[in-house]
Amino acid sequence: MSVEVEAVSFGYGATRVLEDVSLSVRQGEFFAFLGPSGSGKTTLLRLIAGFGTPDQGRIVIGGRDMTRTPPWSRNVGLVFQNYALWPHMTVGQNVAFGLERRGVGRAERDRKVRAALDLVGLVHLIDRRPAQLSGGQQQRVAIARTLAIEPEVLLLDEPLSNLDAALRAGVRQELVALQRRLGLTTILVTHDQEEANAAADRMAVLDGGKVLQVGPPAELYDRPVNRFVAGFLGTANLIEGEVSGGIFRAGRAVLPLAEPAADGPATLALRPQSLRLARVAEPGALPARVLRAEFLGGHLRYTLDLDGLTLIAEESHQRGRAPLAPGEAIQLVVDPRQVSVI
């Protein structure tokens, strides 16, 4: 099922939480809402699940207007951030609850409960209580409970945030695999760009109750529409300057642009790994000076001074190659194709 959010605004009293939000999630897509806390991403997810009614706008699921449909009539599965397993019921009873509400007969219910638990690999824990499970197991039960009702859309609210860092990548991969296998339209809410990048087909970056940009992760990373998106998705050097005649100028630094850009003031976004540090002079290279060097394991991060501009550059760490020292002069090579103008 597709999900259409049409010009939705929402607030609590005078506090505006969502401001004219529109986006559309396609059938079978793994979509992510990415944003910092307070961006409105969880509120938007809850509106799709039916917890709250937009002040304005519509929520359309599978072509049907669900704006005023109560949560229990939506058939939209929400996996809560804290899992919200009912402590007074066993794992099996938790998973069976939604089927009971739908009047599914006992035999059919048992079969579906086992099938749902089988999907997450926890059939053997069917008689346990939630308190007897690990966090990872609790999450799987929460997912099974949601999948058991065969929802039209699966909503995941920060599903990895309560898991140990060591578990996260594995669980994320399992989630994606499960989603692919079921072909279920899925929306993931997260504040972690890596999580969104790795899992989502497309994502929306939210901030301050507005959708800033929608697209595939790599596209958003490569072509952010504004400073916020550029900065939120990884590290970016944002340089204020002027474009004129296809050339960007900031102070004494001059960069030719590979893509056409309108003349006038502009901000240049430049990823740290797109700056190449040359030890010897090259044509077109810019002379810079190292201000600070940090060893981060897989790579080194340098803070550089380029004629008064402070830039971050990253270089992969290679054994035997001596790190640059603060004060050292180097040559900076910028590939115009890696530069985007905001």
Partner: protein
Amino acid sequence: MSAAIARPRRARLRVEASLSQVVAALLVAAFLLAFLLVPVGRVILTAFLDPAGGFTLVHFADFFRTSLFLESFWNSLYVAGLSVVFASVLAVPLAVILARYRFPGRALIATLGVLPLVMPPFVGAVAMQLIFGRNGTVNLLLMDWFDLRLDLMEGLNGVIFVQSLHYFPFILMNLAASLSNIDVAMEEAGQNLGARGLTLLRTIVLPLSLPGYLAGASLVFVKVFDDLATPLLLNVTNMLAPQAYLRVTSVGLADPMGYVISVILIAVSLAAMVGSGLLLRGRDYATAQRGGGGLSQRRMTGQGKLLAWLFVVPVLFLVLAPHLGILLLSLATIWSFSPLPDAFTLAHYGTVLRETPQFLTNTLLFCGIAALIDVVLGVVIAWLVHRTKLPGRALLDLAAMSALAVPGLVLGIGILRTYFDTRLPGGDSLATWWGMLIIVLAIRRLPYALRGATAALRQVHRSLEEAAENVGAGKAATLARITVPLMAGGLAAAFVTSFATAAVELSATLVLVTRDVDAPLSYGIYIYMQSAAGRGPGAALGVIAVLAVALCTWAAHAVAERERSRRARTSEAQEAA
């Protein structure tokens, strides 16, 4: 600016209330209105009405012109005030020892904090007569040994003595709680800046513990000021509550003085509550600081230990005196003008079970139903207030909690005034029907049950309910299958507390019960205690009541503890995961 541009976006009125929510709220409101607000309102109104139905203050003028009423008024204030003083004398040292020192008798002190509460003061009153009265055990011994007599139980003294002993735990528990809530860092900061000993106590510890003390003290004041049963059992009638009771029962429902006194009772209760609330405003320090380990508990010197024991042991004797007294009385053949009974027998228990078993069965039935009503109403009100957006929902909470400020006597009088002339099919008055007693008991204990239900509901995370709605359960199904089962522990505790306190309620009961066959335990004790021959069976009933209340208190405590540990285990498991 043109009107078209300036027109503000019209806020859409969002009524997020379903029909069933509205119906539930209206039913609860009707119940509270019919059996609490209207009766109390009629009491207040009647106090201000002249016979022709106009507004008048003449009844109040009469009240303050009548020397008996004035005397009663001052007596009530005097008794309530001195009860607070003596209760404080008992409670403050115990609280300080409990919260600040490593003292081997801590468990004993904690027990002291509960023992008096399981014994209704009117039950203890008679036993206290036998032990501390003019010809009681203590005075007989004192006369023998020192030729000395203490008038502990004479007139108002007796009321003050019995009430202080009964109510000091309120101060003890509130003060100890607020003392142990003081972050040890507060005290250490004071020490660090050079304060110690008495200076520290005066400048840091006392101000920080004041809220707890005042909360307890105002509660004691109000309870003593409003109490009817204890003075009546001690034959003290020159106080406000007994005067109101006597006016209504002997002069009649038309006599305005009963209503005037009721208004004064309510006004003084409210003034004490509001006054302590105002004093405490902005001083609720305890909730502002979390996490601290409480005051550092320090070692006691040998001398200190001796002093502490010298205080704790006599207090223990005092506290146990009514319990021992009532037990002895229930087992005594004859106990008069002698330090101890002449001989012992179980006959009184037989008498009670044989002749008046209805006192016990009525109590089980009345208080059981009342407690059930309380739990149901508590859940419904708590849920409406905290889980819906129903307009005016806070008023329901306020109305239910306002029962706290209404003395039982006043509610009883209000019910009589409002429903006395309504006749049941059999010709009996609705006001004195046993069903009405159940309703009144339920109203009286509703605040406790509502607090319990609210606390239990707060423990249920919203997402647990939303998860149920998300997989297809409507509001009612969610409430029944998820919310209420998760509240079960708290509700069980609320039920037991309501039951136990209703079982020993006597002030409204005295006003509303007209026939022995419809009477509960507390009324039975009162009736038996009226005659010398009935004191034995009355005491036997008293022992049964104390045991029942003790059992319920223990059960409520055990349920609450189990719930707490279950919760702790759950959150531990979640954290460990």
